[in-house]
Every structure is written in structure tokens, then in C-alpha cells.
């Protein structure tokens, strides 16, 4: 206790400088000696002797004072305070150096802080679920059929529940639902809808912000009209009404009761406006082949992932044994688990890590630059340091002083960097594509602050240690004796600076190479033809509720009617509709069965007459779709108005399809089936004739080849009497596409006042959104590389300029002796060139090794692409040599007379 109190008092005294403390001691000493002197006088000594004896008895006054001072404060803190104060004064004396150093560091530290805050939020922090590491997604797969990740079907889900060994809870949900939300006195609103089993929210540990989640009896077939509002919709549509629980809303015309509001940070990847219960009917499950349920499970405390995987394999064996017709004997089917966090973030991991790596390199370059500045600064301070040394400052003390100054710079840089990061993060969030997970969790919190502080300290040590060690090591005696400008000792300094510059240049080459690769990838990506025209295209979605539009004819005739109306709208050239628009994250695929049993390597489906089949992307389209999108016809004919419910069933396939299954023969006229004849058991194929072949469309993004595609006429129902209710209109316009939006809306409203149009976007916008992620990666890396290049150029310039200034004398003599300026110029350039060449060599080697790590971010370019690496090297060489040229020129202009007098 008492020692703590003493420590705190001393710390306090160190922090607060009081001037009267020394006086107090002096006064006490004086009084002490005076009293002793009087005592001695009384003992009969002469006045002079009395005082002398008193002083002797007291002992060394200075030593006492020193002990007293040491006792009053903490000597360590005392020195630190002194060093800081002295450091601040020194830094103030050279404001240019200080400002440049702090700014350089602020850029480096700020970039690191900004990127780290995203890395921390997206990759490092646990998900906002209870005990999230024990949460897993469970997936099925048919790898050979090109289905590496497959949701569960209802019967599979029930089977999984029945065979659960290693999970304490299992829940399911589906996304991608749509509904028209109508309320009294509010315009109809299209909402995206998630559907979940009642146990999903308790499993995740989600507590609603308001109300509660679904009760088990609200998740029953025929009794599931309850809704959980998403936070955003609650805010925007219900104005954050606290009394919203218990209110009634209409979804597609049916009444639902609101039971609660989900918390702000809740997200399962994707944006659901609201959630409803799945209401699965265990007695009457959907088809075993209809995979639409996402399964989440919490691992039992006692179970490990290996154990769980083994149990899932036993589950697969059970399914294969029990339903051989569904899970073919080729051992293609499998079930596996993925940690929920990995599922959510793995797609963003490589880019984030590459960017974090890049900013670390930028910071290293900044460190090298500041170290260089400090070395230059230190050489002009050599005399000062030598004098301090001569006055008794030990080497450690000088070293400490210099490191303290570096730390002051670094912390100031860190502080400014934090401000920069604040804006940087805001900008990043604005630029980041909407599908980036966990963006709402990105803030500058304590973890990030600690990171910034740590990085600042490390930075300070990193750039401060080398110069400090270097300066403290040099022979101070020699320095004092030195008369002219530094000659011999400057050699070592110059070597250290050269090493720093070469490192900077190598890192800059590395970053330039990385940015170059992304730029080339991006250009390659944009040069990819999506398989359709993107200009003058408007896309709009609408969805017909099943309450007002029954399956089949009503749905079909709505779209026929709407598209006929659109033809007469001025500004619209052609219009069509498709069930899944390319580049919109919406797709369906399903089995396609072949009448032609000679196609090699296809699995057979025992449930459908043992026919060969394959998983293929399937779309329903109206006749005008191909013209509107300008998807080229390769052979046969397009769909037309005659392909209606009464006509023979037809389909159009894409080139990839035709080429894969009939590489040397014509696909036209062949029979395929996507479903069976209704009400016939066992299943018999409902054959369709292929009437045309069209070009392949890049459905999943410009950089993704995608599966084979078939199109069926929207007017010819599938799976019984079904035609897709949700369609995307593709409208080709003669004017600005956005200008016809209102006209289209009027036409829709003329047919049905309650139908909202949503996801309205021009095709150019869809393309732009689809490349948002690579564009952001590219912009950031290019910015960092530019920063690196600029810093490296400044570094080279600094070293060369200093080198020339140091040798003014030498150049002067040489030119006085007749050396032509061109020769001096050449010499300086050669020196700079040597540094640059070394930097290039190391940098290219590093690039060769490290760019491999970004392979997954590249498109159409190899990580070691020679043209890109060469280009990066050339750019850097050009910039570096330009930076050398300026001081080299200066060297040639040295006036020998001035140089010789220069001292």
C-alpha cells in the first residue's frame, strides 16, 4: 500500500513540475547547518570552524540534493519527460522535416487503420451470434453434375433431423422470396422475404430488438401468417414505431401478424426485408429433388468437426441405401459442413488480405522514407549530439533521446492517421459493393485504436532504431574534431540510406506489379462480351401474387398483355421478359433429361425411366426476350407467340449446351425433358423439341463462364401448370433507358394497381454492380501503389540530393580540374541507376513470389505476367531516374569557385 502510494506520488511529481521543491530542501539544509553551527559555537568553536564542522557533518550537499530529487520523482519518467520536451523542441526547430515525416506516417498508418478496421470487422471479429464458432452450414453436393454446393430439400431436412448425432440444434431457412407488402393507407411495397423454421433465431442466439421471434406453434402448415420485420424496413416503412408488434400487414394479399423486429446487425448474407415462418409440412413434404433449404446447425459441445463429418457421411450412406433412385450409385452425392463465418466471408478473404498486405508495404516504405529523413537530419545534428556527449550524456542516453523523437513523430503520425482513417473508412463503406458481408460492423472501435497505437509504436521503433543506433554508435570525438563537411563517417550513413532506398524501391515495384495485375484483369474482364447488348437496356422486376393470379393461364396472359401494351409505348423498341435476368444473383437450375441415350458420360436417373440427365440452368422467357437482349440466334428459330400452352412443347438451348451434348451433330429437333407428364406414375418424361440454338450468356458475372442454359417459353407451363410469377422485363429503348420507367409503371398499373415494380436498373448499372468488387480492389491497390511510387520517388530523390550536396566540394574540384559536366551528370545518374536497378531486381523477385497469393483475384492474367511485371519495372525506373536527374543536374551546375570556398 505505502509503496504504491509512494510510486503514485513520485509519478505525480514527475508529471507536474513544481519549482519550489528544491527551495524547500535548500532551506531545510540551511537551517540544519545553522542549528548545528550554533551548537558548535556553544561548544566553543570559532565561528568559521563551527560552520566548517557543521558542513562536514552534514555531508555532500549536492549528493543529498541528487538523492532527494531521485526520491521525489521517478528518474525514468523524469528522463522521458525531459527527452520528450527536448524532442518536441528539436522537432519544432525543423518544421519542414517534422511536417513531412508526420504526413508520410499519417498516410501509412491511416491506410493501415482503415483497411484493418474492415479486416477486423469482416474476418477477425466473431459473428454477432451466440457462440458463433460452433455454428455450421450444412450443404449437399453432386460434384460430377456441377453442383458443388446444394441446399437441402424438405425430405432431406426431415431425414437429417431424424439422423442427427452431433448437433445440439438444427434449423432451416430459405431466402429469395418476394412479396407485395400492403397496409392500410400506404402504397404497395415490394419486399424481399426470408422464411425460417421457428428454432432458427433461438439457435443463432438472436434476440429481437422488439417483440419476440416465432413460437413453435406459429411455424405450422396453415398456421404461419406471422412476420418478423427487418430493422431497416421497420425504420423506413414503419418509422421505427414501438407499437408495431401485434399490428397486421398484408403480404401478397394475405394478413400477417407482426411478432417482432430483428436487431440491426442481424444478417444471414443477403438482404431480407422481413422474415416469415417456413411452416414446413412434414406429412406432405415437397419433392426430394427440390433443393431450397439452407441448413444451419450448432455443434454439440462434446462433438468435433471430424466426428460431425463422419456422422454426416453415415447419413449420406443411409440416404443412398434408402433412396437409390435419388442418390445415384456413383458416390457422387455428399453432405458436408462449413463454419458459418467462413461461409459468409471466405469470398472476401483473399482481397482483404492482399489489401492489408499492400498497406503494410506502404507503411514500410513510409518508415524507410522517414528513417532516411532522420538520417539526413541526424547528420546535421552530429555536432550538437557530439557536444551533448562531451557534456556527459551517455550513448544510451543519446540513443534514447533519438528513439524518443522517433516515437513522438510516430505517435503524431498515428494520431493524424486515425483522423485520415475515419474518413477513409467512410469512403470505403460508400464504395464497397452492397453484397460485402458485415459492413455494418465496421467502425473504429477499441480494437482498431489499439491496433493503430501498436502500429504507431512499432513504426516509431522501426524507423527510429536504425538512425538512432547509427548516430549513437559513431565516434563522437571524431565528429568534434572534424572540420569540413562529413566525409569518412558519412560513408556508413550513405550505405544505410542506400539500403533503405533499395528496400523502398523493391516494395514499390511489388505494389505496382500487384496493381498492374489487377488493372489488366479488370480490363480483360470489361472486354468480355456478356453475350448480350448492354446499352439502352432497362430491367425491371415484378411478381404476381398467387392470391390474385392463379397458376398457369392468368400468369401467362398477364405477361402477354403487359408486353403487348409496352410495344405501343414511345421510346421502347422491343421488350421481353425472363424468369432470371443475367447479373442479378438470381438463377435456377434443374435436371434436363435426354431422349438420346448415346450421349457419353451422363448419369442415369432411375426415377425417370433410367434416362441420362444433367443439371442445367433453366429460364422461362417470352418471345421478345432474345430480341430485346440481342442474344444472337445461332441455328434454328427463336421462341415465338405460337409457342403457347396449346402448341407442342419446345425449348431453345445455348451454344454451350448444343456443343457439349452433340458436339458433331445438330441439336435442333432433339428431344429433352425438364419435367414429367403430370399425374403419371412412375414418372414419364414430358418431351420438348429443341427448336433453336442461341448464344451463351454470362449469367453469373463477366468473369464466370457458367453452366449450359436452356430457355422454355413462358407460355408453356412446367411442372404441371406452373409458369414463373416473378419475371424481369428486358426493355430496349431508343432514348435514355431510365426515361421510360414511368411509362412502363403506368402500363403495369393500368392492368393491376397493386403491383409494384422493383429492382429497376439499366443493364449498364447491372454490369457495373457485377464488377464492383474487382473495381474496388483495383482502385484501392492502385491508390496504394501510387502512394508507394510517390514515396519511393521522394526517397530516391532525397538520397541522391543529399549525396550530391555532400560532395559539392568533390564535384567542384573535379570540374575545376576540367571534368565536363556531362561526366558529372553521368556519374550521379549511374549512382542512382545502381540503386534503382538493385531495387528493381529485389522487387521483381518479390513480385514473382508474392503475386501468386493474389491469383484468385485475377482474371485472364497470370500472376507472373511478364508484360505487367515489366511495365511496373519500367514505370518505377522512369520515375526513379527522373528523381535522380534533378540532383544530378544540380551537380553539373556547381560553380567550382563557390564549391571550393564552401565550408
Amino acid at each position: 500500500m505505502s509503496s504504491l502510494r509512494r510510486f503514485l506520488t513520485r509519478l505525480f511529481n514527475s508529471a507536474i513540475r513544481r519549482t519550489n521543491d528544491d527551495e524547500r530542501l535548500s532551506e531545510e539544509i540551511e537551517e540544519h547547518v545553522a542549528l548545528q553551527t550554533e551548537e558548535n559555537l556553544r561548544a566553543g568553536l570559532s565561528p568559521i570552524e563551527a560552520r566548517r564542522q557543521a558542513m562536514l557533518k552534514f555531508g555532500g550537499v549536492e549528493a543529498v540534493k541528487e538523492d532527494y530529487r531521485a526520491e521525489r520523482r521517478l528518474p525514468f519518467v523524469e528522463t522521458l519527460v525531459q527527452d520528450v520536451r527536448y524532442g518536441l523542441r528539436t522537432l519544432r526547430k525543423s518544421p519542414g522535416f517534422t511536417a513531412i515525416a508526420i504526413l508520410t506516417l499519417a498516410l501509412g498508418i491511416g491506410a493501415n487503420t482503415a483497411i484493418f478496421s474492415v479486416v477486423d470487422a469482416v474476418l477477425l471479429r466473431p459473428l454477432a451470434y451466440r457462440d458463433s464458432p460452433s455454428l455450421f452450414n450444412i450443404w449437399g453436393k453432386f460434384e460430377k453434375q456441377g453442383l458443388p454446393i446444394l441446399p437441402f430439400s424438405e425430405p432431406e431436412y426431415w431425414d437429417l433431423l431424424g439422423h442427427n448425432e452431433s448437433f445440439s440444434q438444427i434449423a432451416a431457412y430459405s431466402t429469395g422470396g418476394n412479396a407485395n407488402l400492403t397496409r392500410a393507407d400506404a402504397t404497395p411495397l415490394h419486399v424481399t422475404e426470408g422464411a425460417a423454421t421457428a428454432d432458427l433465431f433461438p439457435l443463432l442466439g438472436i434476440t429481437p430488438a422488439l417483440g419476440r421471434s416465432f413460437a413453435p406453434d406459429e411455424d405450422q402448415p396453415g398456421h404461419s401468417h406471422f412476420a418478423l420485420l427487418g430493422y431497416a424496413v421497420w425504420q423506413s416503412q414503419f418509422a421505427g414505431d414501438l407499437n408495431v408488434v401485434g399490428q397486421s400487414i398484408h403480404l401478397d394479399g394475405e394478413a400477417y401478424t407482426i411478432v417482432g423486429v430483428l436487431p440491426k446487425e442481424f444478417s444471414l448474407g443477403g438482404k431480407q426485408d422481413l422474415w416469415v415462418p417456413l411452416g414446413l409440412d412434414r406429412a406432405k413434404p415437397q419433392d426430394r429433388g427440390s433443393h431450397y433449404l439452407f441448413v444451419v446447425a450448432r455443434l454439440k459441445l462434446s462433438a468435433g468437426t471430424a466426428q460431425a463429418s463422419a456422422a454426416l457421411n453415415r447419413f449420406v450412406d443411409y440416404l443412398r441405401r434408402t433412396y437409390p433412385s435419388n442418390y445415384d450409385g456413383e458416390k457422387d452425392f455428399g453432405v458436408y459442413l462449413v463454419p458459418v463465418k467462413e461461409q459468409l466471408t471466405s469470398g472476401f478473404r483473399p482481397a482483404l488480405l492482399v489489401l492489408q498486405g499492400a498497406v503494410v508495404f506502404v507503411l514500410l516504405i513510409a518508415c524507410a522514407n522517414v528513417a532516411n529523413l532522420q538520417l539526413a537530419q541526424a547528420s546535421s545534428r552530429e555536432k550538437e549530439l557530439a557536444i551533448r556527449g562531451a557534456l556527459g550524456a551517455g550513448r544510451t542516453r543519446l540513443f534514447r533521446q533519438l528513439v524518443t523523437e522517433s516515437l513522438i513523430l510516430a505517435l503524431a503520425g498515428g494520431f493524424l492517421g486515425l483522423a485520415a482513417a475515419y474518413w477513409g473508412v467512410a469512403a470505403l463503406l460508400a464504395l464497397a459493393p452492397a453484397n460485402t458481408p458485415r459492413l455494418n460492423e465496421v467502425h473504429l472501435d477499441l480494437v482498431v485504436l489499439a491496433f493503430t497505437f501498436g502500429v504507431s509504436l512499432l513504426t516509431g521503433l522501426f524507423f527510429g532504431l536504425a538512425p538512432a543506433w547509427h548516430v549513437a554508435r559513431t565516434d563522437l570525438q571524431a565528429k568534434l574534431n572534424e572540420t569540413g563537411r562529413g566525409t569518412s563517417a558519412a560513408g556508413a550513413t550513405q550505405r544505410l540510406r542506400a539500403v533503405l532506398v533499395v528496400s523502398e524501391l523493391s516494395l514499390a515495384v511489388l505494389l505496382l506489379a500487384g496493381a498492374g495485375l489487377l488493372i489488366r484483369s479488370f480490363n480483360r474482364l470489361l472486354a468480355v462480351s456478356p453475350g448480350f447488348q448492354t446499352q439502352h437496356m432497362l430491367t425491371l422486376q415484378l411478381s404476381l401474387p398467387d392470391k390474385t393470379y392463379q397458376d398457369g393461364a392468368p400468369v401467362q396472359s398477364f405477361y402477354v398483355q403487359l408486353l403487348t401494351r409496352l410495344k405501343s409505348v414511345s421510346g421502347i423498341q422491343t421488350a421481353g421478359a425472363v424468369s432470371q435476368m443475367p447479373l442479378t444473383d438470381s438463377y435456377t437450375s434443374g435436371s434436363v433429361f435426354f431422349e438420346d441415350t448415346s450421349i457419353p458420360d451422363l448419369p442415369r436417373y432411375p426415377g425417370m425411366q433410367n434416362l441420362p440427365y444433367m443439371e442445367i440452368d433453366q429460364r422461362a422467357a417470352t418471345p421478345g426476350y432474345f430480341n430485346a437482349m440481342q442474344i444472337p440466334l445461332v441455328g434454328g428459330r427463336l421462341l415465338n407467340e405460337a409457342d403457347n400452352a396449346d402448341a407442342p412443347l419446345v425449348a431453345v438451348v445455348d451454344e454451350t449446351f448444343a456443343h457439349r451434348f452433340w458436339p458433331h451433330r445438330d441439336a435442333i429437333g432433339r428431344h429433352i425433358a425438364i419435367d414429367g407428364i403430370p399425374k403419371i406414375k412412375p414418372l414419364a418424361p414430358r418431351w420438348r423439341t429443341i427448336v433453336g440454338v442461341v448464344g451463351h450468356v454470362k449469367h453469373y458475372g463477366l468473369g464466370v463462364e457458367g453452366r449450359e442454359q436452356i430457355y422454355t417459353p413462358h407460355a408453356q407451363p412446367q411442372f404441371g401448370a406452373y409458369s414463373p410469377r416473378t419475371m424481369t422485363l428486358a426493355v430496349r429503348t431508343s432514348l435514355d433507358p431510365a426515361s421510360v420507367t414511368n411509362a412502363i409503371r403506368e402500363q403495369v398499373f393500368a392492368i393491376d394497381r397493386d403491383l409494384p415494380l422493383y429492382d429497376i436498373a439499366t443493364m449498364d448499372q447491372l454490369v457495373s454492380v457485377s464488377v464492383a468488387q474487382p473495381r474496388l480492389n483495383l482502385s484501392l491497390l492502385a491508390a496504394f501503389a501510387g502512394l508507394a511510387l510517390a514515396l519511393a520517388a521522394v526517397g530516391v530523390y532525397g538520397v541522391m540530393a543529399y549525396s550530391v550536396a555532400q560532395r559539392t566540394h568533390e564535384f567542384g574540384i573535379r570540374m575545376a580540374l576540367g571534368a565536363p559536366p556531362a561526366r558529372v551528370l553521368k556519374q550521379v545518374l549511374l549512382e542512382g541507376g545502381r540503386l534503382t536497378a538493385l531495387g528493381l531486381a529485389f522487387g521483381l523477385f518479390a513480385a514473382f513470389v508474392l503475386t501468386r497469393l493474389m491469383a484468385s483475384l485475377l482474371f485472364g492474367v497470370k500472376p507472373s505476367d511478364p508484360a505487367t511485371l515489366g511495365g511496373a519495372a519500367a514505370l518505377l525506373a522512369l520515375v526513379a531516374l527522373t528523381a535522380c536527374y534533378i540532383p544530378a543536374r544540380r551537380a553539373t551546375r556547381i560553380d567550382p569557385i563557390v564549391a571550393l570556398r564552401y565550408e
Binding site: 505505502s2 509503496s3 502510494r5 509512494r6 506520488t9 513520485r10 524547500r24 530542501l25 532551506e27 531545510e28 539544509i29 537551517e31 540544519h32 545553522a34 542549528l35 548545528q36 550554533e38 551548537e39 562536514l56 557533518k57 552534514f58 555531508g59 555532500g60 550537499v61 549528493a63 543529498v64 541528487e66 538523492d67 532527494y68 531521485a70 526520491e71 521525489r72 528518474p75
Partner: protein, 115 residues
């Protein structure tokens, strides 16, 4: 920081506390005189070392100080024991007596007593 040997420091501190306990508030010179009188030559030289020690005790909270008037009516710093210091003195006196007793017994022991 120069450090006296721990024993000397510890003993000196104990002597200061005891002095203040017995005599009441005293200035530095008074404390030094008292210790000199009782301990003989321990403090005849280097009386100044007392002052850093007084400061240490003060910073630990064992003693407190105030300005007052000395015998010759000049300003002097008077030290007094705090309640905490009194407690500390008690504890340390006990410790010291215990230690002294043990050491004393050790010195009395003769070789034949051990065998």
C-alpha cells in the same frame, strides 16, 4: 539513484519513526541530533542522508510535514508521525524485535548445544 545498504536504510527509517513517536513533531536537525545521541556514531557524518529518507517516508504517507518556527525563530520544516506511520512503526517494531530475538538466540548458541 544511490542506495544505502538496506539494513542501514531500514534501521534509520525505524529510528526516525520512533523518534517522532517519542518526541512528537521535530525538524530534521532535531531528529538527527536525537538519533546521534542514542545511536552514537551512526549519524555523526552524512547527516544530510536523512533528508531523502524523510521525503521517502512522507511520500509513503508514514509522516507529514509543515513549516514551523525553530528554536532560533527561523522557518523550519517540522515532521510528525501520521496515523499510518504509527501503525507502520508498530508492525516494524514487532518485526524488528522478533528478528533481533532470533538473531540473538543464534549468537548465544554454542557448538555443543547443537550436537
Amino acid at each position: 539513484m544511490k542506495q544505502k545498504t538496506d539494513v542501514l536504510q531500514g534501521t534509520l527509517a525505524l529510528m526516525v519513526l520512533k523518534t517522532l513517536d517519542v518526541l512528537g513533531p521535530r525538524h530534521g536537525y532535531g531528529i538527527a541530533r536525537r538519533i546521534e545521541q542514542i545511536s552514537g556514531d551512526l549519524l555523526t557524518v552524512n547527516q544530510g542522508t536523512l533528508y531523502p529518507l524523510l521525503l521517502k517516508l512522507e511520500q509513503e504517507g508514514a509522516i507529514a510535514s509543515d513549516w514551523g518556527a525553530s528554536e532560533n525563530n527561523r522557518r523550519a520544516r517540522f515532521y510528525r508521525l501520521t496515523r499510518e506511520g504509527r501503525k507502520q512503526l508498530q508492525v516494524e517494531t514487532q518485526d524488528w524485535e522478533q528478528t533481533a530475538a532470533i538473531i540473538g538466540r543464534f549468537f548465544k548458541v554454542k557448538a555443543q548445544d547443537v550436537s
